[in-house]
Structure formats: C-alpha cells, structure tokens
Symmetry: C2
Subunit: 239 residues, 2 copies
C-alpha cells in the first residue's frame, strides 16, 4: 500500500526493513474521497495527517474576491499535510482533483515517532523541507518567469516527481487538471492559460489531451523553463 511512498523516501535516503515496518504502522486507516472534494479546510483543527496513496490533491489559498492560488500539487506518495502535525491548523485548503485514497496517520503516532525513531522524524522533517523548496521554486516562477516558461516548468517538475514513483511511461503521464486549475497554479486567467498551452503545442513541446500530457521535446522544454531539478533533492543523503 505504501510502496509509492517508500519509493519517494528511498530516492532521498535509505530506509531499512525495520523502518519500513514502523512507517507502515503509522497508517491507522484509509479514507477515500471523490474528485473535487474539500479534504481539509484552512483553519480546521487537525488530529491526523493524510498520506496520499493514490490520486492528485491541490493545496490552495483564496482571496475574498474568489481568486484562487494553488500553492502546490500533491501526487501519489506525498504526505499532503504532514506540516499539520506541528501547525495544528492549515493555512490553506486541500482539495481532491481526482478520486483519492488517503492513508490516515494520527498525530499521536507521529509524536511517538519523534520520541522513539528520531531518524524517521528527520526523514519526515526533510520531506516537509522539500515541500518548502518546491514552494520557493513556484515563487520564482510566479515572480519572474513568463507564462510560457512557467507552464513549461510545471510540466517538467511534474514529470520528474511522477517519474520517481513510476507514474511516467514514455514521457507521458496523467494530468487531471482542468485549464482553470492550471491557471490557478500559474497565477493566470483561464483564457491566457489556454493560449499558453496552445503555444506549447504549436512549438511541438507537449501534447495534451483527455487529461494526459506527453512531453515531446524534453530538452527544449527544460531549456525554455530553465528547469533544474536540484530543488527537488533527488540525491541520496545521510540523515
């Protein structure tokens, strides 16, 4: 059940068989949600965190006028609100973009983990820090990249992150976002997101249809977006 999650961890550091047991025992249950549901709302008091076993989840913040910024996309294997363990309340919403299966991890078990398995605590601390690194790269994109370069960067990032967990086949992967949601990731209007997708298509960089993308020219896509995967911390480390 946690295979995808463990692959994600093992991309960054070693996880022993015993540690794998401990991690597996964190999950107290499974929750299934339909697409387009609020999984957690900003400000709710939390007593457990969710490990995404399958599906896509968007983390977003809204302004009063209804403008929405998606601050991160979470994929299978991601611990979507691990930061809720220390924060106790989230500053943003979690919404399912697809049907999702979520492993429920009570905060009490995470607390016990920090007491008894400090190395695993450090690994999960690392995971929240990688999340923050993704936020910073998104800030760079939002502030400095053009719409075209920003969108290209998003497709590069998702390709690398999905590849870690084996969800890319032949440079193609499922991409369940509507153009509205893409726009909300990039800080654009739907209209301009549409035109930007078409420009990427026109240049022969991607193919996108029926909720699936194929990267047709990865070198040029990476060049256009100045994509550098270092921020994803994909190399092994001692921890």
């Amino acid at each position: 059940m946690l295979g995808v999650h463990l692959r994600k961890l093992r991309q960054r550091t070693t996880v022993s068989a015993e540690e794998e047991q401990i991690i597996t025992a964190l999950v107290a249950g499974v929750r299934e949600v339909r697409p387009d549901q609020a999984v957690v709302r900003a400000g709710e008091e939390l007593s457990s965190s969710f490990l995404l076993l399958d599906g896509w989840i968007a983390r977003s913040k809204d302004l009063a006028g209804g403008e929405r910024q998606i601050t991160e996309l979470n994929l299978a294997g991601d611990f979507v609100d691990l930061h809720g363990f220390t924060l106790k309340r989230l500053d943003h919403d979690l919404r399912s973009l697809t049907p999702c299966r979520l492993g429920v991890v009570p905060h009490e078990r995470l607390r016990a983990l920090t007491e008894e398995y400090p190395r695993l605590a450090r690994i999960y601390w690392l995971m929240t820090n990688i999340d923050a690194a993704i936020h910073r790269e998104w800030a760079l994109s939002l502030g400095q990249r053009s719409a075209l370069s920003h969108m290209a960067h998003l497709f590069c990032e998702l390709c690398v992150r999905l590849d870690v967990t084996g969800l890319v086949e032949n440079a193609a992967y499922d991409f369940p976002l509507t153009q509205r949601e893409v726009a909300e990731c990039l800080g654009l209007t739907v209209v301009h997101a549409n035109r930007t997708i078409q420009e990427l298509r026109r240049r022969g960089l991607i193919a996108l249809e029926s909720r699936r993308v194929r990267i047709l020219d990865r070198p040029r896509l990476e060049q256009l977006s100045e994509f550098e995967p270092h921020y994803l911390s994909l190399e092994l480390r001692e921890i």
Copy 2:
C-alpha cells in the same frame, strides 16, 4: 544573546528553563557579516545552520538572465537555514541586507537534539513549517494580488513579525531594503515598485524614508491587502 529567538519560539509554545539551556548550547559561535554579502550560496555543502541574532537576510533564487526573486525575508530571531540541516544543500542563496550577527549551529548538534530532545525537535520542525506557510502566502500574493495590495501585504507581514520580537515602536520599524530589493520580493520592476510605494504614500497608508517605515493607517492597509495573520501561527499550542 538568544532573547529575540526565544521570544519568537514562546509566541508559539512554551519553552522551559531547561529547554532554554539546551537551545543556548546549540550555538557554537558567532559570525558577523557586512551588508550585501553572500552568507550561503545555493548548492554549497552545509555542516551548520545560522540563527540570525541581529540584522536582515534575504533568501533568493535567480534566473539565468539575472532576474532575481526574493523568496523570504529573515529577521532577528529567525533560524535562516534550519532547513539546510536535512536538505544538506540549499536551493537558494542567503544574502545579508544589513550588517548581521549569526549564531552558528553545527548540524551535529541539531542531530543530537532530535535524538535527545524530541520536543525541541518538534518545535524546530514547526518553525520550518511556519516558514513554508509564509512561502505559500507569498505565492498567493505573487499570483493573485495586485502590486499595490501585494506591497501593502508585505508591510503588514513584516510589522507583525517584527512586533513579536519587540522591533516595532509606534507602528514604525526599520526597513533596510532598497527599492530594487522590494521589487525582487514582489516580482515587479524597480520602476513599478517605486510607483507603488508612492501610491501607498499618496493614500496616507505608510510613510517610508531613510530606511524606516511607519504604518499610518493599519486598518486600511490590512483591508487593502486582505492581510490575515493566521498563517504566521502566532497562537500558543501543545507540541
């Protein structure tokens, strides 16, 4: 020496006298840097983290063309690269905006902290998660707020964060950034940052001169920017 840092922690949770001792013992030395120096560069291998005792530090990422996005401003009391403990290399640069005094905390001591003082480890984990929450609010600003609203939001955020450590007097605080650096925070050009500052002045919301801001009309500034301090996690919690 760590008074400001401890105030920041105690805004979020209790810190006992014994814990205060442990924290104090984390600091192995002090490093002083002049303004406008690279404190840490992206990609460097790290074996210690810096606790900012005094001064301002900017965390920024650059594109090849020289465009720079400041992803966070760090103030006295902030652990500027605590995330470096697990990441081992930063994805961004740290640059001093003023003369700074930095407490040097060897990663080995942080590792020992996670082994021996899990509650303190959870507190520092919380601190990195608050950092990420600030990143998300900045992403919302970058993607969805107008230049004027975004700038107003920045002044509100800094006022609240500086107030926690007693650095605000009469709604005024030191603000050492040049307009170029302000622009790099907001994802604007210098010219437009300048015009936006003038518009805030013209509306009677702030006074800004000789590297010091005064907030003249806080309610209207907060309204203009839809500032809501929840994301800063300022309330006490069990951890």
